[in-house]
């Protein structure tokens, strides 16, 4: 078959992108600071949504890297650097999480000692839900993520110069350890930062729910970056329809997975109809939240499902680009829907505020900047990877 002879030459990203990201970030940060002084509670909740969005893309990307190693996939090897670049967000989470830890009192009901003293249920949960343990958990998980990021990316980068195949083997081993660590840590992260906002409520599938949404978001971010770069010739001449198809099929699969998990959670709670579980959905059915709940089904499932149903649509770069942006928004709406109704002032329905918009602006700018930063230090293709050639020649 066609043997692509390919000599990699690094092509820089346009300077206008850096400018664009910097403008977004600075506007976002200034407005965020204003928001913080205007309405601290709302600003913190809005910040939490964007924080979880960044967590999703960062850890989801590292998961995709690990998945490639552990599954022995070669179609994704040539584009593996994209998730690697995104996972550079992980070490920055140490800084980003600090406002949430400092102002925990504004976010978490269980952090109020006087409330716990009056509440039998919260007293029972206190051995887990207390600030000391919460902070320890947060840093342990962030530490583990950063550690795996650092080890795996270091190996991958070293391979560019040494061409040492053993580094791939090393990364396969690391991935095998990382996957269970990832499963447990994102479950507890979801419980800590989102489920515990409503400390009386519990759902055993919550971690899986977060996982399903997080993978969709990470895949959407990766696909978006891949297609934007492809359109500008960064992946010429080897990238073909089948690479796009694989990305599209993965997105399609995880969109279905999300719907499956979301519905499973809903069905069980709806069927048993226990007041201690169903109130969580009822809150999300109050006033205008009902529209957002219905919107979520349409935005995160129905539209992407039908948009990606046929085979040609999964190969169509325009369609994929649109759906990637769409799904990033959808995951944002999903997180918003999980987090915001827990605000006391929003229990009866969603009321719009400009504050909700400022953090995503800063977030997008931040993510693009980190991407550019890691792009500068690295090759776009893992040129030392033994699977690279096969990946470029990939055909379904």
């Amino acid at each position: 078959m066609s043997q692509t002879d390919f000599h990699y030459q690094k092509k820089e990203l346009p300077a206008s992108l850096t400018k664009f990201a910097l403008i977004l970030l600075s506007i976002g940060v200034v407005l965020s600071l204003i928001a913080f002084f205007v309405d601290r509670e709302r600003a913190l909740f809005g910040y939490l949504v964007t924080y979880m969005m960044i967590v999703s893309i960062a850890i989801g990307s590292l998961f995709m890297v690990a998945l490639e190693y552990i599954a022995g996939a070669d179609w994704s090897t040539p584009i593996r650097r994209i998730p690697e670049f995104f996972s550079k967000l992980l070490p920055f989470l140490f800084i980003l999480v600090i406002p949430l830890l400092i102002f925990n009192h504004d976010l978490f009901h269980w952090a109020h000692e006087e409330a716990v003293a009056e509440d039998k249920i919260l007293q029972g949960k206190a051995p887990y839900l207390n600030i000391t343990f919460f902070v320890i958990r947060t840093f342990v998980f962030l530490g583990l993520w950063t550690l795996f990021y650092w080890m795996m990316i270091k190996n991958s980068r070293k391979q560019d110069t040494t061409k040492d195949q053993n580094l791939t083997t090393k990364n396969i081993r690391l991935s095998a350890i990382f996957i269970p660590v990832f499963a447990i840590s994102i479950t507890f992260t979801a419980i800590d930062f989102m489920m515990s906002l409503e400390p009386h409520w519990f759902s055993t599938i919550y971690g899986v729910y977060f996982f399903s949404g997080l993978v969709v978001a990470a895949l959407a971010a990766i696909t978006l970056a891949v297609i934007m770069l492809k359109e500008r010739g960064y992946f010429s001449p080897w990238m073909n329809d089948d690479h796009l198809f694989s990305l599209g099929a993965l997105i399609f699969a995880f969109v279905n997975f999300w719907a499956y998990i979301a519905f499973s959670q809903y069905l069980l709670i709806w069927y048993a109809d226990l007041p201690e579980e169903s109130f969580w959905y009822l809150t999300r059915w109050n006033g205008s939240w009902a529209y957002i709940s219905i919107l979520l089904i349409i935005v995160q499932f129905l539209v992407p499902y039908f948009a990606l149903l046929t085979q040609p649509s999964k190969k169509n770069p325009k369609r994929l680009k649109f759906i990637s942006v769409w799904l990033l928004l959808a995951h944002f709406v999903d997180l918003f829907w999980l987090i915001m109704p827990n605000m006391n002032s929003m229990k009866d329905g969603y009321t719009f505020s400009w504050i909700d918009l400022v953090f995503p602006i800063a977030g997008v700018g931040f993510i693009i900047l980190i991407f550019i930063m890691s792009y500068k230090k690295d090759n776009l293709l893992p040129i030392g990877d033994p699977k690279l050639k096969r990946g470029m020649d990939f055909h379904l």
Binding site: M1, F263, L267, W270, Y271, D273, T310, Q311, H395, L396
Partner: protein
Amino acid sequence: MNNDKNLYCIAATFNTPDEIINAAKKVSGAGYTHFDVNTPYPVHGMDDAMKLKPSKLGFVTLVMGLAGASIALLFMYWNISVDYPLVIGGKPYFALPAFIPITFELTVLLATVSTVAAMIMLFFQLPDNKHPLHDTQYMKSVSNDKYGITIEAIDDKFNETEVENFLKKLNPLNIEYIYFPPVETYPIFQPKFLLLLAGIALVVSGGTYFSLNKLMFMTPFTFMMDQDKLIPQKGSELFADGFGMRKPVAGTVARGFIPYPYKGQVNPTEVLSNPFLPTKENISLGKEKYDIYCSPCHGYFADGDSRLNGQFPNPPTLHSQRARDFSDGMLYHIMTNGQNVMPSYESQISRDERWAIVNYIRVLQRAKNASDADLTEMNKEAGNNVAN
């Protein structure tokens, strides 16, 4: 070559996937449309080389998937929401979330099964199981380690010598002529076949009998039945009284049942009052029910003159002073509770219908004992009717 045989195709085999891709490109490029490629495994890029159009199979999947979804939904909707409405778990009759799993299963089931069936029928021409390529040397080699291409005789451009020369130019390992196999017919009802059918029937029914009547009652297959759970009407060690079932909490009332507080009292000091106005509809409902339930004993006009008169402790007239003095609630009480030999009609006639009967009895009583005022009133109405 051999003219008394019917040519199916000319086949060429190659050694490598690259050669077969090249051959497929050349053959499709030369304008042949009835040709096929056989390889031991899917060769990448073959669709393009053969210029295949996207498969239509997806439509079968889509249509049957949608059919599965709608059949499941309509079926459950009809069963449980319309034809025989059942309340399950306190959910509404049309409980969509509860229907979703079955809808999902049936969608997937119909979509996949029909896709496979359609594939077998469209591509392998199923009921016909005699493909000319079967049992040929060609098929043996391409299902092992060779890559083959066949150009079929039905192709418009087919010409034996031309095709053979064309294929030879591609440098194949060898070229083979493949003919339709001679048509063979088998009598279906051979004794051997019948015996086989009987054998299968015996094995299937024996197996079914064994698994349903014996196997299911052997450990470990009984584990599903022997659960540590409460079974209605069975004893249980869980409760001190040894019963598995619990008595309902005192004061529990069955769904849709409103208890009658004066049940069993012969001379109640207090009775209910009539909740229904004597409207036309109510009275005609009362008449309908009275004619069905009461007239056999009390007579159509409550004169106590039914054909039971004389054979039974006489059902009394309801026009006696005593009966006219009964309050509505007392009439209701007699129907609900019974009186001496007259049985209770509580279980036959619904609550509201019993009240309607009371209203109708009042009509009968007033008709038999009409006052002068009633008569003038009636004549006036009759006159009005005539005038109209």
